[in-house]
Symmetry: C2
Subunit: 488 residues, 2 copies
Amino acid sequence: MTDVLAVLRVLGMLLMLFALAMGVPLAVSWWMQDGIWPVYPVSMAFTLLVGGTLVVALRRYQRELQPRHGVMLVTMVWVLLPLFATLPLLLAYDQIGRSLSFTHAYFETVSGLTTSGSTVLPSLDTLPVSVNVWRTFLQWLGGMGILILAVAVLPMLGVGGAQLFKAEAAGPIKDTKLTPRMTETAKGLWGVYALFSLACVVAYWLVGMSPVDALMHMFATVSLGGMSSHDASLGYFQSMWLELVALVFMLLASCNFALYFVALRKGHWRGFWRDPEMQATLVALLGGGVLVALLLWAKNVYGPLDALRHGVFHVVSVATTTGFATVDYLHWPVLAPVFMLMLSGVATSAGSTGGGIKMVRMLILVKQARREMTRLVHPHAVQPVRLGGAVVESGAIFSIMAFMLVYGGTVIVLSMVLLLTDLDPITAISAAIASVNCVGPGMGGVGPSGNYTTLTDFQLWVCTLGMLLGRLEILSFMALLTPAFWRR
Amino acid sequence: MTDVLAVLRVLGMLLMLFALAMGVPLAVSWWMQDGIWPVYPVSMAFTLLVGGTLVVALRRYQRELQPRHGVMLVTMVWVLLPLFATLPLLLAYDQIGRSLSFTHAYFETVSGLTTSGSTVLPSLDTLPVSVNVWRTFLQWLGGMGILILAVAVLPMLGVGGAQLFKAEAAGPIKDTKLTPRMTETAKGLWGVYALFSLACVVAYWLVGMSPVDALMHMFATVSLGGMSSHDASLGYFQSMWLELVALVFMLLASCNFALYFVALRKGHWRGFWRDPEMQATLVALLGGGVLVALLLWAKNVYGPLDALRHGVFHVVSVATTTGFATVDYLHWPVLAPVFMLMLSGVATSAGSTGGGIKMVRMLILVKQARREMTRLVHPHAVQPVRLGGAVVESGAIFSIMAFMLVYGGTVIVLSMVLLLTDLDPITAISAAIASVNCVGPGMGGVGPSGNYTTLTDFQLWVCTLGMLLGRLEILSFMALLTPAFWRR
Ligand SMILES: [K+]
Ligand SMILES: [K+]
């Protein structure tokens, strides 16, 4: 019990930081005079109050956090922050005289913070600008949270990413003695993230977006969130240059941020270009894009140039788990959206802001499977699995395997539950996959031109759970459910 | 090269045996006077000629077969026997003045020998009886082949089943010093199979089938093939008693045949009832059946008794990879058929006549995943994975993992190829799953009331490949594609 209290104290501190983040939409509201500024101080005050109370009341429970506390804290943060994030939304909707249920608001904030980017809000273009800033800013916060979670916090806590991280010995971490201390790693990743964010917002502005649109779409891009301030998503702009900017930054954000950090600090990029996961991610994204472009051309959906433009953009968008759309790709041959959604499960790198299983896990499993095939013929051949020159330990492979099984099981169970509510199979299964991978748009009723509004409250809760599980990399969450966790 | 010749010699011997099997429909054709008996001696003669030529021409290449030869032989057998099996079909269709393409004939014989049981032949009820006997008899031969392949041949050759087999140390094999020599094991399994076959044919006859119908449906039941001599499948009979007989024998055939062999020889069944895989198979099949029955009742599809009857029967039928149907379950809430098809991937035991991943692999992976979850919390806890008291070696887990990955990859690639032909997603994906698991009926256009006739030739070839890959347990086939295989 005292464990839980110690964790709650840290949560209180995070809540206070989160309250400060509400200053961003407040500033925009003042600047753009959208008429709902009082919403933000109220939300801030309430969040600060709750956080402060926790910190003060539990000040005696300050202690070193252990792995099991890490699992608890991370879960609490991803479940509870969206709760406080709904305050500005609910208050703003009240202010402008529209109705918004708690279920819808919580879905929206979870979708933002997990960088899923699905929306249940109709008529986005008519909302006060600061509301859209808040929605999209949640993605940026979530994206940063994921980076720190995946690269700095989780390995330190021995949770989820840890074994994977060891497996990545060939990556930059071991090579360059990247300090394992959380604060410094975190700072380095923030730095890269801030750099990308700045470059992205300037680039969007240069190709013609208004400053505030550039800001909001930068939030959606570098976090791979894909939540837009327009109902028509990026299709609102109808600009090829803008799509190109989005494309470049989605590609950048789908690689391991630690690679950039190390390359920048060392001043040379050899390690970066040699990273097997980075290579595989880019090959999967661009190769997949070209394949879909060829399909679109072969099936006469577009001429060759439009096929290339739309094919590559949407494959990269969906497979990086961003989910921007400029056309309704559900009108394409059905192989295309299915393929894109499949890719979203594996294409992004670990340590990126993307969702899914992550490419490094897939690479290791494929190499392992190849080794087994050799063993079928030469039963006594002993070769270790190698990635980028380094040996992957058995423990890492076991851990990845367990992750894959739990991941697959989660998608199947959530699909089944959605099917139980009589949703059609395409919508149900694609919604489950799109939620767990934090993509956003799926197929059928939840495709790129629709949104999640058509789902019932219960179905929305299932998707909300899916996004949270996906973001928590499932396994760490599952640990909470084991009896061993609660035993001392 | 001389390796291939040695394997071809053995193939020649098997072809000669296969020619003899054509005596069964020949006998039925004489007895029932269906007017097409000359078809069979011609087919037999041709098959004998080819087989005999191989044996005589390659008599100098007699040698001990090694693992790599096993992989080659097994692949050749499952690809080439269906080729010769098309002879009676093609000749019979010519005789009765109907048309049948080679693609359709080969699909049908592969479907039979792999015990998938899908059909592309319309108007089954109007075919000469011996043709239906030949179709359904192929399943019985295939079922026996699978048993011997899975339990006797593959482990000996160190292929596919081997590591799994070691993992099953708790099972009957190690316990009772079941002799590892192929011939004796094979005899024991044949004995059990023959016993079940005899009991099944008598039971079908007692509940009202004509002797020849009893024979054909016995072929379809104990092999878990599910191919009927009636367009309406088992629904033709509209008899609850008959469904009950089918249910019992499907359940019997979905457990490990070695368990029966050992129990019968020892005279007591303790080991049988304690086998963890057997328990899991029965719980999955009957538990799944009851769940679907509850769903059907809750959604007012049937009253409670009909829900139980149809729910349990069809879950067992699909999940054991049999594929009999008495109603069109695609009219049920869509969760039911999806759930049944999912179960078909995992429910049957290794060493049964069923398809899919097999329950023992699933059990081991789940136990492994549970161990990893404990390790998240207690990183230094070292506990081996256990199944039925025995420790599962790491090598076995790695092998299962590779199998699962290749299995999943196969289903995905085949689905994608079918989608590329503009088949709708439900039909495409379910056809891929139903083919690789050797179930037969899928969903959409290939559901229980439809058949595979609506597919194009190309789509049929994709499904044919799926059935072959599924039956060969994929991995052993994949070994053929590795360079290591062809290196000395
Ligand atoms: K997203
Ligand atoms: K079958």
